[in-house]
Subunit: 341 residues, 2 copies
């Protein structure tokens, strides 16, 4: 409220607010303000610890130096770690991040987009929910950069940064096959979105290439919004329903966590009795006994790429969308390779 304004400085320096504005925005040279005046203004500004009011500036220029970040769940390790990387990167460019979680709920996502819009964020980083394609299209029309993350809409031309989910799933499934596992199931989320579709397709393609059996009874889809208890119940019911099952692939980190919990409560021995692999890495997977094989996403790289694309688009909007697909890496651990410690 009671901040120092450009007027205060102008008064003290005996010049107009215009001149102060020019100097403080580094336009002294361009506007040919004399060295003397320029120095004087700088000195006064730093003495008074002047900080430009971002609201006023934003109202005038339309730029708020704020990025809107919409993730599925900020409490999830994957998104939280990514949020940290993006915070750091954005900070380097003087941007702050306003966040929100969709919980994979389209209505919540729409609400978040709306709020971010009338808060005039300069750009959006969005983990879209299903049916959010219309809103993403509309957003593009506002000429504010939008970068999708984790997933995208194949029929919408937009910037995005994702990993090769198909290849990741293919590799980890092939790895199970190579280890000698014969009957492999997958537990995934009830979702037709591209990232889950690709993981499922990578899984089935690998089974086919390794001449392993595949049918619908090997696929379990669970709705995202269930509680932990319900997830565990569903997973246990599924796993015990398959005769001869000897390995299972959990398609996200939280599914992997629920999966471990479920398998342990069944009393099965992970590794020898049932091979276990998961998408995404987690402290739990690294330190569990036995440790859990996973397909890890390169979090730092993803975060840096997202912000880089955003900054490029803010500075020089490009005609064609930047679509970056990073490679996830297979981390082989004891849960699929009992020989390992």
């Amino acid at each position: 409220m009671k901040g120092i304004s450009i007027k205060d400085i102008a008064k003290q320096a005996g010049v107009s607010p215009t001149t102060v504005s020019f100097v403080l925005n580094g336009k002294a040279k361009e506007k040919r303000i004399s060295e003397q005046v320029s120095k004087k203004i700088q000195k006064i500004a730093s003495r008074l610890k002047y900080k430009p009011n971002q609201l006023a500036r934003g109202l005038r220029t339309g730029k708020t130096k704020t990025i809107g970040l919409i993730v599925e769940d900020i409490a999830n390790n994957f998104f939280a770690s990514l949020a940290k990387v993006m915070e750091d990167e954005a900070d380097k460019h003087g941007y702050k991040v306003l966040y929100g979680s969709t919980e994979d709920n389209t209505e919540k996502a729409k609400g978040l987009l709306e709020v971010l819009k009338y808060r005039q964020v300069d750009a959006y980083i969005v983990t879209p929910t299903k049916n959010l394609d219309k809103e993403i299209e509309q957003l593009k029309a506002t000429s504010k950069p939008v970068v999708l993350m984790d997933r995208y809409f194949p029929h919408v031309s937009s910037h995005y940064v994702v990993v090769d989910n198909y290849q990741g799933a293919y590799n980890v499934t092939s790895h199970l096959a190579n280890q000698g596992y014969k009957k492999i199931a997958i537990v995934t989320i009830t979702s037709d979105q591209i990232q889950m579709k690709d993981r499922l397709e990578g899984f089935t393609a690998a089974l086919k290439d390794h001449h392993l059996p595949f049918n619908k009874s090997l696929v379990k889809k669970i709705p995202f919004e269930l509680e932990r208890e319900a997830f565990n119940t569903e997973i246990k019911k599924f796993l015990t329903s398959i005769k001869g099952l000897d390995a299972v692939f959990f398609a996200t980190n939280y599914l992997g966590i629920y999966g471990i919990e479920s398998i342990r409560s069944l009393g099965w021995e992970i590794g020898p009795q049932i091979g276990v692999v998961s998408f995404d890495d987690h402290d739990l997977f690294r330190l569990h006994s036995p440790s859990i094989t996973c397909v890890a996403q390169p979090i730092t790289e993803i975060g840096k790429n997202i912000v880089e694309v955003l900054m490029q688009e803010l500075n020089h909007p490009s005609a064609s969308p930047q679509q970056i697909v990073l490679e996830p890496s297979l981390i082989i651990r004891a849960s699929s390779d009992p020989g390992k410690k």
Copy 2:
């Protein structure tokens, strides 16, 4: 940029912007605007999907409906989970959250406070670093509510929401003693801040009350900013240096994680050979084999309390600080009680 403004509505309705503003801010009655005009304006506004420009409103009223959140590390499970709760709670009151991580670095914290200040956030939620007391005092002078979390400054009168760190540490240490462990060490962070001090004091008090040996060689302090490798090296060096050590208390969740990793790489058997307990809960602690005993903080309750205090202060600033101390809960698991599964 090209948004609908109050002027557009005024033009279409054939009234002044003033009237539109009154109606849209629910002051129609108070300002005795006729039902007719009021209805008409409402209709036009919703037809045009009018969204008030928050910048303009903020510039005028000084309210941005934004909360600044400063945590130690948004990627850390504890802070990320809390961020989720606070996001939800703030949302109920129409507030959005701008976040930043200090990495326990005072300079970063100061920078964050400064940025949040000139972005005109309405209120602050701060996990203070050491030596941030001056800045917190100054902030109070601006009459924007500030709630400290996780820790506070004993000599600064401020709102805060924390857990009883002393009692939590006391209880978990007593539990170890009751289990028959005789030589108990603590691994903590190099920090004189209240939360770590209280945990250390709770630890030593419990040892004393149980007539167990205590001396400085049983306390290891590690600087926060070390890398994972270095943490593990330090922990291993420390644990192997104590003759007859049979239990260890890790004073934060990340220390607990590093600790488990270290102990395992030493080849020690957690539980029978060395009792292990940690502050904070984590998926890893719940699902590790053996599972890890911990002092869990009531995350949802903490988050709700923080936002509640903030909202009360925003609406009716109170004369005296609200200082809330919640009870953490002891969760006994196999790492300190080998009998457990």
